[in-house]
């Protein structure tokens, strides 16, 4: 068997463009590839990827393998697996990087088990062990209460990476790279699941992942109303978005799309205002990348104060309206 070489990023598209997570993976992959003095390639599978393959090169890829097929327009596990397995067998990479996304969560474990190799999901940090040249794969465990570093001697070494954990390199459209169109015959008889319908649950206003400021409420908010009033008013003043920890989502106070945490959205805004949130590790896992965490909680012992830069101890019903009013005044002046 050929020696495994190079870093392969399995890229994703959002609305026909290279997804942010893919630019982050290419940034991280570029560093690893340079350290190993090997190539960085990117695999793109969809119905049309010509434009995105140029983007992938601009963000650091040396080679882009493209598989264009109408059957690959949207992620479907059994058909994507066929493309991934063929490309991996053909290119024998040393490392495969995927996003810890809807696709990566679903595809990476299948691929690892199909190939009989290890996998670390949701990695926060990746580096090369100078002695063994193995990939050191660091990920949170125990709901974010600890981190663990893994290695795997079986090739390829596969990981999924948390969004916003890595930085892209600066886009450079003059970078040169090679696009290699690849044909994969998708055997539809091996596609055992069928997506019969997609239902969008619209969230109005700014998307959580893009919001520079997030106002997030927890169990202590007590019901659905304050998310639409007290918290929304603060978010509006700051041109931010409202989010929630798990209990409000589980209780149906807000839609699941607003859930921030280990099993919800991972966000990293400039300012994260945590209101009536105790600060369970599973929640912090979703917001720890924020630049500034501000906590408002009536319990001075709440764990959230261990994560925050500034805090106020008090009932949110009293603190938040006064905070909103003062900010309104200051921002107007």
């Amino acid at each position: 068997m050929a020696e495994n070489k190079g870093i392969l990023v399995y890229g994703e598209l959002t609305n026909g463009k290279l997804a942010a997570i893919t630019t982050e993976l290419l940034g991280c992959g570029r560093k690893l590839a340079d350290e190993l003095k090997e190539e960085l390639s990117c695999l793109l599978t969809s119905d049309a990827v010509e434009e995105t393959s140029k983007e992938a090169i601009a963000f650091g890829a040396d080679k882009v393998y493209t598989v264009e097929d109408a059957l690959l327009k949207e992620y479907q596990s059994d058909s994507y697996m066929q493309a991934a397995e063929k490309l991996v067998n053909q290119t024998s990479p040393r490392v495969i990087l995927m996003g810890q996304t809807s696709m990566g969560r679903d595809l990476a474990p299948r691929l690892a088990f199909r190939l009989g190799v290890g996998l670390s999901t949701d990695c926060l940090d990746l580096s090369i062990d100078p002695e063994t040249k193995l990939l050191l794969q660091t990920r949170p465990v125990y709901g974010g209460n600890a981190q663990a570093t893994f290695t795997c001697e079986l090739m390829p070494q596969i990981v999924t990476v948390r969004s916003k954990a890595m930085s892209p390199i600066e886009r450079d459209d003059s970078r040169k790279g090679e696009v290699i169109p690849t044909k994969v015959e998708i055997d539809t008889s091996k596609v055992r699941t069928k997506i019969v319908e997609k239902v969008k649950e619209e969230v109005t206003g700014i998307k959580l992942e893009d919001a520079p400021v997030i106002v997030c409420g927890g169990r202590g908010i007590g019901g659905p109303e304050p998310f639409k009033t007290t918290l929304k008013e603060l978010a509006d003043v700051l041109k931010g978005a409202v989010g929630a920890s798990r209990p409000p989502a589980d209780n149906g106070w807000v839609t699941e799309a607003l859930h921030i945490g280990l099993t919800g959205k991972i966000v990293a805004p400039e300012v994260y205002i945590a209101i009536a949130i105790s600060g369970a590790s599973q929640h912090i896992a979703g917001c720890s990348g924020s630049k500034n965490i501000i906590a408002i909680n009536k319990d001075p012992e709440a764990n959230v104060f261990r994560e925050a830069k500034f805090g106020v101890v008090g009932r949110y019903e009293e603190v938040v309206p006064a905070f909103t009013a003062k900010l309104k005044e200051l921002l107007a002046g």
Partner: protein, 269 residues
């Protein structure tokens, strides 16, 4: 269609809701240590998986067998799956099953499921509540060569097919899968029901079936720590600088106004 056979994989974990300060790493042993007052529980996502199976049983009947892998499993904890309506409990229980990774765990479970032989639906939680990897369910499906659908928030069985609502970032998709299939379940499916007293009494009398590696045709070298494919090189807790500045005031409202001033001064807002 005859009664369907459902399997649910459940893991016993230290209570993930325990206060963060109670999680301490023993770095010499690369192990998590928890004080004795942190009790073991059935993993929260595995509970949702159990509820998914129970909802199907409510509607169309069928048999639910739960499987759990580990060592020294606490009967009162794991028997919860019987108390809420499971029909049978199989434990893969032996010291050699300890310290496994996703690979060795999925391999042992898939091998046990092959021994069970008859199954239409296998349910797992979306991830364990301790290592959070989210691999074992998909691994079992891959090893058994059956389709898998992840992140289910609703599961129904009609006309010999499973119909699943799968959570995606901005909503959900409806997926149909041929049977047998494996489904991983997420929190939106809903919390596990409470056990009725009758169920608790019946569960107390029921004895689980216990299998060791040899009972499913595996060597000790293929399971647990010996069967790992990924090596744990370091378990640690990043040092946090506790440096929260608490903004004071005569009243909560004044503290809030002071916070606004502070954030403006610091050019944060």
């Amino acid at each position: 269609m005859p009664d369907i056979n459902m399997l649910v994989c459940c893991k016993q974990v230290p209570d993930p809701e325990a206060p963060p300060a109670s999680f301490k790493v023993d770095s010499a042993a690369n192990k998590m240590t928890l004080p004795p007052d942190v009790k073991p529980v059935v993993g929260q996502y595995d509970e949702f998986a159990m509820e998914a199976a129970l909802k199907i049983k409510d509607k169309i009947g069928g048999k639910i067998t739960t499987l759990s892998l580990g060592n020294k499993l606490v009967r009162d904890v794991i028997k919860k799956t019987l108390a809420v309506g499971g029909d049978e409990l199989i434990l893969l229980e032996d010291e050699t099953f300890e310290e496994g990774d996703s690979w060795s765990t999925a391999y042992a479970l898939a091998t046990a499921i092959k021994k069970i032989g008859e199954y239409d639906l296998i349910f797992c939680g979306r991830q364990s509540s301790d290592w959070d990897a989210g691999q074992v369910g998909l691994g079992i499906a891959e090893l058994l060569g059956i389709p898998a659908v992840t992140l289910a928030r609703k599961v129904e069985v009609t006309d010999g097919k499973a119909k699943i609502e799968r959570v995606i970032p901005d909503g959900y998709e409806v997926v149909e899968a041929t049977l047998p299939a494996l489904i991983t379940v997420t929190s939106e499916l809903g919390a596990l029901r409470y056990a009725a007293l009758k169920g608790i009494m019946a569960a107390a009398k029921k004895q689980p079936i216990v299998w060791k590696p040899s009972d499913i045709g595996l060597e000790p070298s293929q399971v647990g720590a010996a069967g790992r494919r990924a090596k744990l090189t370091k378990l640690f807790q990043p040092v946090k600088e506790a440096k929260c500045e608490i903004i004071e005031g005569e009243t909560p409202a004044e503290a809030a106004a002071n916070l606004a001033l502070k954030l403006r001064q610091a050019k944060i807002l």
